[in-house]
């Protein structure tokens, strides 16, 4: 799981163009939206695409995304149990 969390942090940095951030700057337990990285709806779109392209996970509803994108750790746990790639 640790490896997946680190990989996911790097994928998020790439997808959201967080060029000046490092893996250590991202707290895997911090909320992704509102606090933490302060992501917004545009970023949510990028995360949905990331889940599909990198891990073969297609999210069906916005409510589903709200649960999955709570934190990097929650995302990683969901990916680990649902990935098709």
């Amino acid at each position: 799981m640790e490896q997946l969390i680190e990989e996911l942090k790097q994928e998020i940095i790439n997808a959201l163009n967080l060029e000046d951030m490092t893996l250590a700057d991202i707290d895997e337990n911090a909320p992704l939206f509102g606090e933490g990285l302060c992501l917004d709806s545009i970023d949510a779109l990028e995360l949905i695409v990331l889940m599909d392209k990198k891990y073969g996970i297609k999210l069906k509803t916005a409510a589903e995304g709200k649960e999955i994108f709570k934190s990097v750790k929650v995302m990683a746990e969901y990916i680990a149990s649902h990935r098709t790639k």
Partner: protein, 208 residues
């Protein structure tokens, strides 16, 4: 009562000047690292900053410095303001990055996080959000820095009677590097402040 320059910030590839004082020098960092150095200097802690394009980042940093120097917080809503800036390359830096995401049919992905910055006035939105400025904003594209054009555009902004303060200037970040002059103007009778004039804008821009 006249229009006065409350504070100004000049950022180039090699230095940051705040109200005439050299506050930071660049030790041969590339533009991305230079922006990080300025971010560290301002002690800004603003997660949204890291998602921004380079134009917005530098604009937000310059705004942070001039607002602080002018004595404004970023907690209270500000309604008697206006924003008015210019540059020469618009959002070309971002336009090119975005274009690369739709260049090849095999890897066609119009990235939303890049697309949102493909207008130069987005930097003004980022500044307005940061400092709670509920105000009109205008952004013009001009071939090169023109004190006359900036002065005249801001004079037009002041035709609106509700405007007391204007944050304005030149915000250029692109292939040629970083070239910023950002200032805050206030209707004031404080004789210790510089007048808002074409000559003074030109001098602030040219000051080494």
């Amino acid at each position: 009562m006249g229009k006065k320059i409350l504070s100004y910030c000049r950022i180039t590839d090699d230095k940051v000047i705040l109200n005439g004082n050299l506050v930071l020098s660049n030790n041969n960092s590339d533009l991305n690292h230079w922006i990080t150095d300025i971010y560290d200097y301002t002690k800004l802690s603003y997660p949204k900053f890291h998602k921004m394009d380079r134009l917005s980042k530098v604009g937000v940093l310059a705004a942070e410095m001039v607002m602080s120097e002018s004595g404004f917080d970023n907690d209270n809503l500000k309604r008697d303001w206006a924003l008015c800036c210019m540059n020469s390359s618009a959002s070309l830096d971002d336009d090119e990055a975005y274009q690369k995401t739709i260049q090849n049919a095999e890897e066609f992905y119009p990235a939303p996080s890049l697309f949102v910055y493909t207008l130069p006035n987005i930097v003004l939105g980022e500044i307005a959000i940061r400092h709670k400025l509920r105000c009109e904003s205008s952004f013009y594209v001009c071939e090169k820095f023109s004190a006359d054009a900036i002065y005249n555009a801001i004079e037009d902004v002041y035709l609106c009677e509700s405007v007391r303060y204007v944050m304005g200037g030149w915000l250029e970040v692109g292939r040629e590097g970083c070239d910023i002059l950002l200032f805050v103007i206030e209707e004031s009778d404080n004789g210790n402040l510089q007048d808002f004039s074409i000559e003074n804008l030109r001098n602030l821009y040219l000051k080494k």
